[in-house]
């Protein structure tokens, strides 16, 4: 790759390797709803099942949060409300906005303890006001037991709320009750060479596979390109700050 390649050229290369990054949106029809082509490629046109428990799991830096953000982005862009139960306090608003989530329609709950998180998730699922509720318990082991999951699944079916659990794969009760399990297999960084000899993180390639599917066809694994957006407050300071307060220096 030439060192002076522009971002558009790089995107073209990424598209060629990983398929359509920005392509026609299937199954959005005339509703005006922005749909992600990736979920459609993986799960079919229906996307994530409504009123079900979905587990997205993977080790650290595997791309599981990006998958959950995509689900919330679809939900909020469709005019529905979403909720995020942030057990570890790691939700970063600029990253969520960059992923397409409308933060004005996202209820964020930051519980102090596991019991608070369970109470919050119960209230959110039982209320039925939110179309998608994400429980981020990637850093919390044994947060949901079997009886919790049974109750939550029953409530979700009743209210039509999609409950997405982000985990490290160490929640056997969630794995058992989930109608769909997506395994994020890892991120591969995509570097862009700079004219000064340094590098810049352009995005990441994510690999996802369907580990379990009760309602949709368990098809296959897929690879997606996750690109850092060019907007002002992108993910992380290097791309976020093009102004004089944050100048790029040469790699020592």
């Amino acid at each position: 790759m030439p060192a002076s390649a522009t971002l558009s050229e790089l995107k073209t290369l990424v598209n060629r390797r990983f398929g359509t990054v920005v392509g026609p949106a299937p199954a959005c029809g005339e509703t005006g709803v922005r749909r992600s082509p990736h979920y459609s490629r993986l799960l079919g046109p229906a996307g994530l099942p409504k009123g079900r428990l979905v587990e997205i799991f993977g080790m650290r830096s595997s791309g599981k949060t990006a998958l959950a953000f995509a689900a919330l982005a679809e939900c909020t862009q469709a005019g529905e409300l979403g909720a995020y139960v942030d057990c570890s306090g790691s939700l970063y608003a600029p990253a969520a906005a960059a992923a397409g989530i409308d933060l004005q329609r996202l209820i964020v709950v930051r519980p102090r303890a596991g019991s608070d998180a369970r109470r919050a998730i119960d209230a959110l699922v039982r209320g039925g006001a939110c179309a998608t509720v994400v429980l981020d318990c990637a850093d919390a082991a044994r947060l949901l037991e079997t009886h919790h999951c049974a109750r939550l699944v029953a409530q979700a079916e009743k209210t039509g709320t999609t409950l997405v659990v982000i985990s490290s794969g160490n929640l056997p009760a969630v794995a058992s009750f989930a109608a769909l399990r997506l395994r994020a297999r890892g991120l591969t960084p995509l570097w862009q060479s700079g004219s000064d000899g340094g590098a810049r993180l352009m995005g990441c390639a994510a690999a996802v596979e369907v580990a379990k599917a009760r309602l949709v066809v368990a098809s296959h694994a897929a690879e997606f390109a996750l690109l850092l957006p060019d907007i002002g407050y992108a993910v992380g300071p290097p791309q976020a700050v093009p102004g004089p307060a944050f100048a790029s220096l040469a790699t020592p």
Binding site: E80, S90, Y92, L103, L187, L228, G236, P238, F246
Partner: protein, 492 residues
């Protein structure tokens, strides 16, 4: 018509002194603003301190100054007490600004001077140190007379308002920003100057405000005295035969109390947005201060017994340390907002809002209010990742619901549909976790230097994108001030 005005010039300070009598005799200033950034009022012995100063300036002007935060709740309570007490002087009383009350002074049996004396005595008895009262033909003249008197009583005879107002400065008018300077340029310094001018030229320079200024300056304020609304609290109490320590029995009584209170609210076409549950423990006498009070904030005004009961039940269940109680009481005051529209069909906007309101209320009862928020990126506030977002507690479901409606309308209007593009998500570690210095080959991209806040908390960081040995893509930085390395976030 005769109107009396009572002005308490040290109202804010006196309210603080009522709450903290130990501060009496010391120079005090009351600060207001988000972080007590502005002095609002100062006691008489705080020499050199004036409104608008910053706390630093005030302390520099008056060493030993005690700065206390303004307590608006206490001020409202003090105003309520004052108005209640003033009803002994006149049947029609009205509160205006904090520290300023009006009452009807027409046809007073004991005479005007006696009424003013009574009002000043009431203010002194309630702990307000500097009070002035005046009676005039209209509200503006009465207020000017009370302000001009500074302390004590003053009576403007009937029909003498223009003559009384003429020598007073124009600063007593409710001036719009910039108007004082324009009056200065025109040489208009007293109310008499303005009253003497024809309205035409004045209106040519000040527009509609000129009419108001001229009317006030001539003593022709025709704003009527509106009596305050009485606050009706609906309360229902249930006393048990003996001590109760089981939640089921408590909930049974609670349901009855809530149902009665909700019926009364509905009967008055009112709604409440806050309910208070009072539990009388076994050892405390009835009505004593030993009562346990549980405040339940409703997300939306309602008079629905079931909604109120469910939220009260959650509030009671969340209290794990309740002992045996003898009685339970439920209090609810009507709020100023009107009742929401009824939902005709399930799935309508109103029913969705009701579901959202119930969800938010459940969350806010179960957790603290500041734990249920919306997040907003604040890229202009700072470049530090940990300061690039702000959590805003959700006060009302309408903040979310209205936006959703607007967005769906926008989505319908969008002719072409662009698919969503995925982006890697950064999980923020706050506070950043310290790590050993990474090996040079691991530093894939960077350094990107960030330097800010040199004037208060200096930050000097070199950021890198790093792939660690486990393959995780990290955002790390080296703090230039202590040369340590930290992980700020993980791309996930």
């Amino acid at each position: 018509m005769r109107i009396a005005c009572l002005v308490l010039s040290q109202f804010n300070v006196d309210v603080c002194l009522r709450a903290k009598p130990s501060l009496r005799g010391r120079p005090i200033a009351v600060a207001e603003g988000a972080s007590r950034c502005t002095i609002a009022c100062a006691s008489g012995d705080a020499l050199g301190v004036s409104a608008g100063m910053t706390p630093k300036q005030a302390r520099a002007a008056c060493p030993g100054l005690v700065i206390v935060a303004r307590d608006e709740v206490a001020e409202r309570e003090a105003t309520g007490e004052l108005l209640d007490a003033l009803e002994t002087c006149s049947p029609i009383v009205a509160g205006a600004l904090p520290g300023m009350c009006y009452f009807d002074a027409g046809n007073l049996p004991a005479g005007e001077s006696a009424a003013l004396g009574s009002a000043l005595a009431i203010a002194a008895a309630l702990g307000f140190s500097e009070a002035a009262a005046a009676i005039a033909d209209d509200k503006f003249t009465a207020r000017c007379a009370a302000v001009a008197a500074k302390e004590g009583a003053s009576v403007v005879p009937p029909g003498k308002s223009p003559a009384f107002l003429a020598p007073l400065p124009v600063t007593l008018l409710p001036l719009a920003p910039g108007d004082f300077d324009r009056f200065e340029l025109l040489g208009l310094r007293t109310l008499g100057h303005i009253a003497a001018l024809p309205e035409g030229p004045l209106a040519a320079r000040f527009g509609e405000r000129a009419r108001v200024y001229a009317r006030f300056a001539r003593g022709e304020d025709d704003e009527p005295l509106l009596p305050r609304r009485a606050q009706t609290m609906h309360e229902q109490r249930f006393a048990f035969d003996g001590s109760i320590d089981r939640l089921e029995a408590l909930l049974f009584a609670l349901r009855g109390c809530v149902s009665t209170v909700a019926d009364r609210l509905a009967g008055c076409a009112q709604a409440c947005d806050r309910v208070e549950i009072a539990l009388e423990p076994s050892r405390a006498p009835a009505g004593a201060s030993g009562c346990i009070s549980i405040a339940v904030a409703l997300a939306e005004p309602t008079a629905c017994a079931e909604t109120i009961f469910q939220l009260c039940r959650i509030a009671l269940e969340s209290k794990n340390t309740l002992g045996p109680v003898d009685a339970i009481a439920v209090r609810a005051g009507p709020c100023s907002e009107p009742l929401p529209q009824l939902a005709l069909f399930d799935g309508s906007r109103a029913s969705r809002r009701a579901a959202l309101a119930a969800t938010l209320a459940r969350l806010q009862v179960s957790l603290e209010r500041e734990r249920v928020v919306t997040l907003q990126p604040t890229p202009k506030r700072s470049r530090l990742p940990e300061r690039m977002q702000r959590a805003i507690p959700i006060e009302s479901p309408r903040e979310l619901d209205d936006d959703a409606t607007r967005a769906s309308a926008r989505a319908r209007q969008r002719p072409t549909v662009e698919p969503l593009q995925w982006a890697p998500a950064l999980r923020l570690l706050d506070p950043p976790s310290r790590i050993d210095p990474p090996a040079a080959p691991a530093l894939e991209a960077g350094p990107f230097r960030l330097s800010e806040s040199w004037w208060e908390r200096p930050v000097e960081r070199d950021y890198y994108h790093v792939v660690d040995t486990a393959g995780a893509v990290l955002l790390v930085y080296q703090d230039r001030r202590d040369d340590c390395w930290y992980v700020q976030g993980v791309f996930d």
